[in-house]
Subunit: 280 residues, 4 copies
Amino acid sequence: MCRWLAYSGSPVLLEELLYQPRFSLIDQSLHSQLGVETTNGDGFGVGWYGMDGGAGAAPVLFRGVGPAWSDLNLRELARSVSSPMFLAHIRASTGTPVQQTNCHPFRHGQWLWQHNGAIRDFSLIKRDLMLAIDPALFASIAGSTDSEVMFHLALTFGLQTEPVAAVALMAGFVESTGRRHGVEHPLQMTVATTDGEALWAFRYSSEGNSRSLFFSTAVSTLRQMYPEVEHLNRLSDESRIVVSEPLGELVGAWQPVPESSYGYVCKGADRLGDFRPATP
Amino acid sequence: MCRWLAYSGSPVLLEELLYQPRFSLIDQSLHSQLGVETTNGDGFGVGWYGMDGGAGAAPVLFRGVGPAWSDLNLRELARSVSSPMFLAHIRASTGTPVQQTNCHPFRHGQWLWQHNGAIRDFSLIKRDLMLAIDPALFASIAGSTDSEVMFHLALTFGLQTEPVAAVALMAGFVESTGRRHGVEHPLQMTVATTDGEALWAFRYSSEGNSRSLFFSTAVSTLRQMYPEVEHLNRLSDESRIVVSEPLGELVGAWQPVPESSYGYVCKGADRLGDFRPATP
Amino acid sequence: MCRWLAYSGSPVLLEELLYQPRFSLIDQSLHSQLGVETTNGDGFGVGWYGMDGGAGAAPVLFRGVGPAWSDLNLRELARSVSSPMFLAHIRASTGTPVQQTNCHPFRHGQWLWQHNGAIRDFSLIKRDLMLAIDPALFASIAGSTDSEVMFHLALTFGLQTEPVAAVALMAGFVESTGRRHGVEHPLQMTVATTDGEALWAFRYSSEGNSRSLFFSTAVSTLRQMYPEVEHLNRLSDESRIVVSEPLGELVGAWQPVPESSYGYVCKGADRLGDFRPATP
Amino acid sequence: MCRWLAYSGSPVLLEELLYQPRFSLIDQSLHSQLGVETTNGDGFGVGWYGMDGGAGAAPVLFRGVGPAWSDLNLRELARSVSSPMFLAHIRASTGTPVQQTNCHPFRHGQWLWQHNGAIRDFSLIKRDLMLAIDPALFASIAGSTDSEVMFHLALTFGLQTEPVAAVALMAGFVESTGRRHGVEHPLQMTVATTDGEALWAFRYSSEGNSRSLFFSTAVSTLRQMYPEVEHLNRLSDESRIVVSEPLGELVGAWQPVPESSYGYVCKGADRLGDFRPATP
């Protein structure tokens, strides 16, 4: 299991979210409060989009295999890179090797993807899952995680044109394949994915008992609640954070994403919707 | 392209072959004389069998992602581990990531496998090759190299019972798959594989112009040629070394393995044979 | 703060102590029960002496900068190396960089040294401490930890001839230097050191509130207490383990080392003694 | 021995100098043409200043212990970071450990420092050199290289106020200390240092036979010589590159820095001067 964060809004220095809040993501790498594992020391990654945006610009990836808490390069980058959209992830391996190609986020063109959870009995069904991946994408699988396979299945099912439908087809295919092999609850996931302009976050598990996921209360509301918190003034109204577990200590700052639902974040248009796996 | 070494014989300290000869394998990591690349700094590995042998005992693996020349742990092990049978490999990546799961030798049960060369246009035919792997072995592929896929194909085709025939079937299958995709010369390889008791080494390429491979002249002959070289007295008569390029400077110590052939080394029984890909 | 283990006795596979007990040292790297930090993921090390012993033989070192829990090479070594005397250490950095030269144990000739604790305000007094190190030893300091400086001070004060007196002089010198710079409680330590034949373990802190340290109950006693525990029969009567926190769940298996004392373990002769810093 | 590059001028993407030219710095990590060692695979580093400059802003450091040629994070950064002033270094260790704290450039406040060369018999005179370092700077030495000691000596002798004089005093002190210990030619160096606004480069050796160093011909001249080379139009007139060995293949693009001299680069004011060690 892992912890992750996704940000969309006015540009912020990465360190403002990765290092500065109490219970920041880097704190969680050593001492997660809500995670299945308290330590997330099996690698990390950040993927960010540049300030100028520019449709089609590929995000930049920085991924390391050591623990995030002691990575000096991550700290340097975090204090020098500002971004209006980024994903960050700290990993606790569920068995697959600790290597850069298994670190999230994963990238395909201008898309990023990160995951907390697991496909149960993945080794049992990995081959069947991989056979369903678009042959043109097959060789671009660089690592050995379930998460990267999920990403490539979603790409195969149309992530780049109909993201919610594609993730639903991916989830449905993982579940049907797993059940065919006798796995009772094949899928456990919170997922964030983005093309640099919009952000989608999913919370779902076959057993209806998914890992935690939270989104931040609207900045305008927070400013009313906490007029004394200065850094809220630096955020635009449409800024949003989605996280595995809350950062900081502002009461009321976080809303749980409901079971079996997804969130969509884009300038001036947020929404929550139901999420149901679909049959390919 | 890479460099490798295989040893079978009376137990020797690893460092006697890895560090001490001029042009030792570790020297070759910085300055290969015959390799396609002069630098082999993209990881390394050693797999060795214990002193007591014991049929069925799995070999021990030590693999690292940095250059062999600066690895202090390898140096420590090499001066403390003696083995009657070991493989050692230094890697120059042909594009796949530098990660432990891509380092040779690869292991399956008591078998080890290492490779120099490449499957040409591997990304084009990787999917078809992987589909031919025994489904029960599929999920044990941990890395992303052509070499590991070759190993698992050979295992699928019977490596553990008929090694030469299985490698011939693997080579034939890679060639037919490659040619079906329009690859002119699909396979380039020197391969060493062992179960801890016998050692097989193969030299083959589709174009009939294979990477170099040498085996050591019989120790009894070398002792007659070089009575003054003390360390030859510590080797048993049946000790043999197979290498990508010669170690040391003893003239006449090394014989080239001919094109399209294989060598078999076992106590009291060496032989060279022709190698031809076979049709599965 | 860190966790460590020292073993002296009949040869055992490293994995029997590093991996197999519940609450094993590798478990403690993720979930320490008694440590100041619950996670010890900033590197690790093992130093062991060979089976043949042989006075004067330098121990073998294996040290890594990643977390011990995910290191595949450590796992491989632990299942293949047997030793009658070894030290093992998992690190939680108190600020100095995560690098191999800062991993314990440290080695000088045939001596090993490992430490849990800290010199307080080390950066303030580091220069004065280093000036007191024998100039001939100065350049052999490879890392930047307080622990390695303590080792070299102890060597300067005669560790190789009068170990207990030398460690007392080291502790006294650290305390007087610290106090001269206004540090109230300069030293906090549990230390293990060995020349391969005997093992010394120290528990001391300036404030009289030292990190935990335990030694194992005599094997003969344990065999009477637990006749059903098979692996106790494989240990010689004089086998002893010293640890930062208990391994396993045998009630009565562990005795705390008292405050301000040291233990000495050698074939057929254990003893506990008072430890008091001395003035150089 | 190592290779390095320093850039001052209109902002460029790091990759334009690190990756794109034939014989780029990253090429040189595998195949240096002029270096004492052809392979520079023992770590690397880049230190850059932000686009907004802003006097007093500390540069950002990215340093890695693996070879630069295979570092994916470096490649990502190089295509996303633009800077008007940066240093880059690839390392071939002369014996000190391969660790991040031994990678160049070194940083102190807003200053960077990188070095190619060596202090001969460094281990012999290291203690005397370190005693001369300002005690307030002593504990900030994080690694074990001669280069970092040279930097801290230069800081002690006034680098931040009189850079050329301070480097001269450093060189003189290293030479007098070395000669007192019987070292014939104590110092071999090319050094680059910068505070983010100006850049100083030094070429000197005790024996008058220094490692190579080149600076780029004025951009206005190059544009006249090569009107067809497009990327020259993107550089400002005062842009300058200083390198251990030439990048690219433009004839006449590079001028050797003479023996025993230094170069100063700042907006609108370049100069070359004689460099002579001075007596502290």
